[in-house]
Amino acid sequence: AQSVTQLDSQVPVFEEAPVELRCNYSSSVSVYLFWYVQYPNQGLQLLLKYLSGSTLVKGINGFEAEFNKSQTSFHLRKPSVHISDTAEYFCAVSSDQDDKIIFGKGTRLHILP
C-alpha cells in the first residue's frame, strides 16, 4: 500500500521569499509522483510530475520539485513567490500496481504582503 504525508497543513510566506512545501511518501514499489495546485473555487491542476529520469523536475509557474529516493521525499520549491500563488497544494503518488492516485492532505500556501 502507498501513502503520502504532507508535513505542513499551512505555510505562511512573505511575497518574493522562497518557499518549500514538504512531501514524503511510502511505497514498496516504484512510484510516480505528482504535485497539484488548487486555486480557490477551482479543481486541481497539475503543477509537475516525476515519472523517471532526472530527479529535478520543473513545472508550471516557476515551481520545481526534487525526487529523493533515499529519503522518500518529493519536496516542492519556488525561489520567489507571488500573491497569485495563494492556493492549496497537493502531493500525490501512484504506481503501475494500482489503479488510483493517493493524495496527501494538502498544504495551504498563504502569501503575506
Binding site: L44, K100, I101
Partner: protein, 113 residues
C-alpha cells in the same frame, strides 16, 4: 474548450432528496473518477471507471451510484441525501496507467439543508 465539465456547479437541497451530478470529458481519456473533498480539503476517491467498467469502488454508501453511459461521461446519483454528504464533488479523467496525470473539473458544491 472545457476539458472536464461538471454540472451543476452548485447544488442546494434538503435532506432526503435525490440528486444527480453530471460529468463529461472531451480529452478522449479512458478512465474517469469521482472524488469527494470535505471542508478540510481532504480529497477522497469514491469511484473510478475505465471504458465504462467500474474498477474502483471505495467504501461509499450504497446511496451513491455512478453511471457511465459511455467513456466520455460519468454521472453520480445520490439517493436520500444526508447532512454528511455536504462537500465538493470533483470529477476527473485520465489516460489509463499509473503514470498518467488526472484532469479535474471545477467541482460541484453540494449543500444539504
Amino acid at each position: 474548450d472545457t476539458a472536464v465539465s461538471q454540472t451543476p456547479k452548485y447544488l442546494v437541497t434538503q435532506m432526503g432528496n435525490d440528486k444527480s451530478i453530471k460529468c463529461e470529458q472531451n480529452l478522449g481519456h479512458d478512465t474517469m473518477y469521482w472524488y469527494k473533498q470535505d471542508s478540510k480539503k481532504f480529497l477522497k476517491i469514491m469511484f473510478s471507471y475505465n471504458n465504462k467498467e467500474l474498477i474502483i469502488n471505495e467504501t461509499v454508501p450504497n446511496r451513491f451510484s455512478p453511471k457511465s453511459p459511455d467513456k466520455a461521461h460519468l454521472n453520480l446519483h445520490i439517493n436520500s441525501l444526508e447532512l454528511g454528504d455536504s462537500a465538493v464533488y470533483f470529477c476527473a479523467s485520465s489516460r489509463t496507467g499509473g503514470n498518467q496525470p488526472q484532469h479535474f473539473g471545477d467541482g460541484t458544491r453540494l449543500s444539504i439543508l
